[in-house]
């Protein structure tokens, strides 16, 4: 046998070697299926996109390799204009969001400003409301002719020049700042609260004033965290689709994501090559940013804060606190109350901006079987797709945490891929993939593909929700189960799953909300025959049936709100019962007084935690 052959033989022998498994997914071999599925779901769309950028025909048609699309993209001055505007919007809105969030975090965590307790719940709401909601309601609110703000302005002053215009660079950035500050707030509140107070006290003992301490010490200490949040916001800014589509496109402001979309929908035949090559640029840009954030957070995150936090008395900032209150009031009004009010009022107008208030839009909705079907489809996709995404995430996280080979890192990377890829790019990649694969091609345009796409897009959120809970489970609990006679599958179903169930349900709920508000995926994957609510809302808006669209969105949000309420009370009920039992036993033993509240998962904190914690990988 030659050397080469014997090496090969040994390699084969290694693979076939006696390697018993100590549990589900512990061996390398058992990772094969999860990794293959992961590649199909998460890597293939991006690979196909990359291939598509170098082909000279739309997906599914015979094509040749070419640099045409790239050449066209990079010789087109429009590309550079889009690039410039995208960067400008992302940078400005990111910096402003973080600045606004920092001020609010400071008011909430350190001062006696009245109304500060409202900020966190409002922020949860801002995060939970889909981008589509803000796109829609801000478009209406700041409409230069018939929007609520301008109408009021006209009436108050008698002038006829609008004071705000949502369909402008300023309008777009303002809306992005309002939505984006929610994330920033949630991400910064924790680190800010966890600052070791003794370093502040040390600064004060050295003679620094309070303001000086805050600027010189707190901000400096938080700098890595802040930088990380700024970069995360840049990523979100580049990936934003709904807001630029609703507010930017009408004003001829094109960013990467909307430009990619228009390559496909606004030109005939659709320019898939152009869209793909632009997508690749965006993927590289976002990838670089995510990498940068990893480097910054990975290196310095834990050195910034000690983890100990002391409750010192909050700072009385004197007259300034009324300024703080005013800021909070303005934020709440502009960020939540006005948009909601405008959307609801608008939905009762026969046409947006005029007519007598009536329920005509709702009647039309409920009498239109197609709309009702879309509503049903969307809710079904949200619920089932949410469950599937959570199941995928559960399997993936379990495999990642239990596998003992390097393959677990491969799977980990795969599940994070869709997060690094902007929604519209993912949608494009998915359509390349599904159109190219026989069998799936037939499904193109049906709800199944839309659902699949939405699930793929939602998996990173689901993963993020489950990971901490799964990591926390002491491995000996599983071992004890094994020793008691449970087979590996039984260990997972009988021990692990019940323990993460509260988190699983909360995550499912959050994922369902995210799916039901997603516009980017259906915009490319669904068609008129298989619309989801967000897609229909967008279509109605482009056909100038704004109030009809508003009514549809109100109905969907109403259902979500109602669902949340029901879940909340069910959860209260269930938990108060378990808690009573726990309390009784605790009272009997007087041993561990801390069991009662510590483990109560709440939906609100789940929403905040999951969505705010959307930074890639801990």
């Amino acid at each position: 046998m030659t050397d080469e052959k014997s090496a090969l033989f040994q390699g084969r022998a290694q693979w076939l070697r006696f390697r018993p498994s100590t549990g589900v997914f512990t061996t390398g071999r058992s990772m094969l299926i999860p990794i293959l599925v992961g590649i199909f779901l998460f890597a293939l769309p991006i690979i196909m996109l990359g291939i598509g950028a170098f082909r000279n025909a739309p997906p599914g048609l015979p094509a040749e390799w070419s640099f045409d699309a790239f050449g066209r993209t990079f010789s087109d001055p429009n590309t550079y204009k889009t690039f410039g505007i995208s960067v400008f919007i992302a940078v400005v809105s990111s910096v402003l969001s973080v600045a606004l969030a920092l001020i609010l975090v400071f008011l909430v965590a350190r001062t006696t400003t009245p109304l500060r307790r409202f900020v966190t719940p409002v922020m949860v709401l801002v995060i939970a409301l889909p981008p589509l909601f803000y796109a829609m309601s801000w478009g209406m609110l700041g409409n230069p002719h018939v929007g609520m703000i301008n109408t009021l302005w006209f009436q108050l002053t008698g002038l006829d020049t609008p004071i705000v215009n949502s369909y402008s660079l300023t309008g777009l950035i303002a809306a992005m700042v309002i939505k984006g500050s929610g994330f920033c707030y949630m991400l910064l509140l924790g680190p800010f609260r966890a600052i070791d107070r003794s370093i502040e006290e040390a600064a004060q003992m050295s003679g620094a004033g309070r303001l000086r301490t805050i600027i010189g010490i707190d901000l400096a200490v938080l700098m890595p965290a802040i930088t990380g949040v700024v970069i995360l916001n840049l990523v979100i800014g580049f990936e934003a689709f709904d807001l630029p589509l609703f507010l930017g496109t009408p004003a001829n402001i094109d960013v990467f994501s909307t430009q990619i979309y228009s390559f496909i929908t606004d030109v005939t035949p659709a320019d898939y090559g152009g869209a793909s090559s632009l997508s690749l640029v965006l993927v590289v840009l976002v990838g670089a940013l995510v990498w940068l954030q990893q480097v910054i957070l990975g290196r310095r995150r834990y050195t910034t804060v000690s983890g100990k936090s002391y409750n010192t008395t909050p700072w009385n900032i004197g007259g300034w606190r009324w300024v703080g209150t005013a800021l909070i009031v303005v934020y709440v009004v502009v960020g939540v109350i006005l948009p909601l009010l405008q959307l609801v009022l608008g939905s009762f107008q026969p046409f947006f901006g005029g007519g007598k208030y009536s329920t005509i839009n709702y009647e039309k909705l409920f009498n239109n079987p197609a709309t009702m079907q879309a509503l049903g489809t969307t809710i079904l996709i949200a619920i089932i797709g949410g469950a599937v995404a959570m199941a995928i995430a559960f399997i993936a996280v379990y495999a990642i945490t239990h596998n003992e080979t390097w393959l677990r890192r491969v799977l980990d990377g795969l599940t994070w891929l869709p997060f690094t890829v902007p929604g519209i790019v993912l949608a494009l990649g998915l359509s390349w993939t599904y159109v190219t694969i026989p069998g799936l091609r037939e499904l193109y345009g049906t709800v199944f593909l839309v659902a699949l796409g939405l699930i793929v897009a939602a998996v990173p959120i689901a993963t993020r929700a489950l990971q901490p809970a799964l990591i926390q489970i002491n491995r000996e609990l599983e071992d004890a189960s094994r020793i008691s006679g449970a087979r590996p599958i039984r260990v997972v179903m009988g021990t692990v799953l019940p323990l993460v169930m509260p988190t699983f349900l909360a995550g499912w709920f959050v994922v369902a909300i995210v799916i039901s508000g997603n516009l980017t995926i259906p915009v490319l994957l669904s068609n008129v025959k298989s619309p989801t609510v967000p897609f229909l809302v967008y279509q109605l808006t482009t056909m100038s049936q704004t109030s009809q669209a508003a009514a549809l969105l109100v109905v969907e949000l109403g259902i979500l709100f109602f669902g949340t309420l029901v879940l909340y009370f069910v959860q209260r009920l269930v938990w108060s019962r378990t808690r009573r039992r726990l309390k009784a036993t605790i009272a009997a033993t007087t041993a561990r007084a801390d069991v009662g509240d510590a483990s109560e998962p709440s939906l609100v904190s789940a929403v905040a935690g999951v969505e705010a914690g959307m930074e890639p990988r801990p």
């Binding site: 018993p20 000996e476 004890a480 033993t589």
Partner: protein
């Protein structure tokens, strides 16, 4: 017939530089109580988990009750749930979503024991661990000691003939530990199980076990009854671990029948040891003796057969005094018991006070010198020797 038999058992974790367990051979009789004793990281837990089937060995064989459950050569691996064993974990490992009753009954439920029989066994086990009145409480809501008793009941409820313990008492306070120790041994005797018990506490190991296995860096240093390892360690590592505070290098000067005279290197003093290792003149060896076996005489005139020295430091430990004595070329640790406190005045242990040290041959062990015994970790001994000089 054997309860557990390990042959050439080895484990190297993937990516680890050295093996966690290296070619372990051990036979445990049915009904025997064996403790695995050794310092942190010596591979006790790894060994136990391999017996349980929770870790796959990289080599060797394991049989439980004469049934082969693992063999590298013959590609046999019986998964943990099919080995029919019970295990008590350091963290108790109680499932937060289960009551005491269902926790203890879980192995029975999985074994498809009929409900009436199951309930009877649960009641019996809970009775044995005195938790009958807490049957319906959440297991995690109990106190630490109670939780460990639930874990104990669960491990034994299934009627396993082999029960494994991984430092089950290390999270409990001292008083509770004594009580639990007694209970564990009682249950072992009453139910006639074979027990393998991991601990790093020598006192616990000795109090519980029929046989003690002393481990060090993945190997067995000594196997013997509790009394054997306590009084007759076979090398410096075991002696040190068993509380021989003085381990000094020496050289044989003369050999005379049952005893040999050795000279302590550096110190120069000559002492007699029992010659049970066929020593020859000029042989290098280590002598080991406990601090409590050192006779102290406060005197500034050297007496024949004793080693002169000066008091260096004294540490008061309640029932004893630890005395560190400077002798020419080294230090010797001595100990004064509470009942002897009266023999000494308040100034007698002042620093620099001259003393004479006497040792009796029956209490001195002669041990192989470093390098003569493969099982002894070299660096550890070098540091040992350097602190002695």
């Amino acid at each position: 017939m054997s309860g557990v038999s390990l042959a050439r058992l080895s484990k190297r974790y993937s990516g680890a530089a050295s093996a966690a367990v290296q070619s372990l051979d051990l036979d445990i009789a049915p009904g025997e109580f064996v403790t695995l004793l050794g310092p942190s990281g010596c591979g006790k837990t790894t060994t136990l988990r391999m017996i349980a089937g929770l870790e796959v060995p990289t080599g060797g064989e394991i049989s439980i009750n004469d049934r082969l459950v693992f063999s590298k050569e013959r590609s046999v691996f019986v998964p943990p749930e099919k080995r029919g064993i019970g295990m008590v974990f350091q963290s108790y490992a109680l499932w937060p979503h289960m009551s005491v009753k269902s926790t203890v009954g879980y192995p029975l439920k999985l074994a498809k024991t009929p409900k009436p029989e199951r309930d009877r066994r649960i009641a019996e086990m809970l009775d044995r661990v005195h938790l009958a009145d807490r049957a319906d409480d959440a297991a995690v809501a109990l106190s630490g000691g109670q939780q460990q008793r639930v874990a104990l009941a669960r491990a034994m409820a299934g009627g396993s003939s082999l029960v494994l313990f991984d430092e089950p008492l290390s999270n409990l306070d001292v008083k509770l530990r004594y009580a639990m120790r007694v209970q564990i041994r009682e249950l072992h005797d009453e139910l006639g199980t074979t027990s393998v018990y991991v601990t790093h506490d020598q006192e616990e190991a000795i109090a519980l076990a029929d046989r003690v296995v002393v481990m060090n860096i993945g190997r067995i240093e000594q196997i013997g009854t509790a009394q054997q390892v306590y009084t007759k360690p076979i090398n410096a590592f075991v002696a040190d671990f068993m509380g021989f505070q003085n381990i000094l290098p020496a050289t044989v000067v003369t050999v005379g029948g049952a005893t040999a005279t050795v000279e302590l290197n550096g110190i120069g003093a000559r002492i007699d040891v029992i010659n049970d290792r066929m020593l020859h003149q000029g042989d290098a060896l280590l002598v080991a003796f406990r601090a409590s076996h050192v006779e102290l005489e406060l005197s500034d005139t050297p007496a024949p057969g004793s080693i002169p020295g000066f008091i260096h430091t004294v540490t008061y430990l309640g029932s004893t005094l630890r005395v560190l004595i400077n002798v020419k070329g080294g230090v010797i640790r001595a100990q004064v018991d509470e009942r002897d406190f009266g023999r000494y005045g308040p100034d007698d242990f002042a620093q620099g006070h001259p003393v004479n040290i006497t040792l009796s041959p029956g209490q001195i062990l002669s041990l192989p010198a470093p390098g003569q015994k493969v099982h002894t970790e070299p660096e550890r001994l070098t540091s040992l020797v350097s602190t002695m000089q």
